[in-house]
């Protein structure tokens, strides 16, 4: 399944000294699902690419922590 984030639920010890984080997230960027890059993918303009961090739209991953609001990248 192609999503930018997946989550898992770690075991929580009854002796955990800190408030437990019940759901943890990890990043699964689009390149994981691509295999070998096909030619002629749709592209960003150069100025957009500079902010997106990739030239190809299929690889764009707005990377930010799920615990914090996104900063930078392309305007939503």
């Amino acid at each position: 399944m192609n999503t930018h984030f997946k989550t898992f639920h770690p075991y929580v010890s009854p002796f955990d000294p800190c408030p437990p984080i019940l759901e943890k997230a990890y990043s699964t960027p689009p390149n994981l699902y691509m295999g070998f890059q096909p030619p002629n993918l749709e592209q960003f303009t150069p100025l957009e690419a500079l902010r997106a961090g990739t030239l190809w739209k299929a690889f764009y991953d707005p990377w930010f922590s799920p615990l914090e609001p996104g900063k930078g990248g392309l305007p939503q």
Binding site: Q37, P39, N40, L50, L55
Partner: protein, 86 residues
């Protein structure tokens, strides 16, 4: 004190954008060396980069040293602003 005009940042951003496209296309072409369209695009942006470099350097001085950029008279390599001052 000398102020950097807005055009400096516009030209610099265009140059950075074109440089980034060239980096991406270089990495792509390393694994797709028979993609003619991408090679044409690469050459197009290589030319565009030369144009932008010339436009930038004619106004704001050399970007590179050791023969990769021309100098005007007097020697202007050490003129401010330096990269970490803009």
């Amino acid at each position: 004190m000398k102020q950097v005009p807005a055009e400096y940042y516009q030209l610099m951003e265009q140059l950075q954008a074109v440089d980034f496209v060239l980096v991406e296309l270089t990495l792509y072409l390393d694994t797709h060396n028979d993609d003619l369209e991408a090679i044409n695009q690469f050459n197009h942006y290589a030319k565009e980069r030369k144009r932008l470099k010339k436009a930038f350097e004619s106004q704001f001085g050399p970007l590179l040293q050791f023969g990769n950029s021309y100098s005007s008279y007097p020697w202007n390599w050490d003129d401010t602003p330096w990269p970490w001052q803009v």
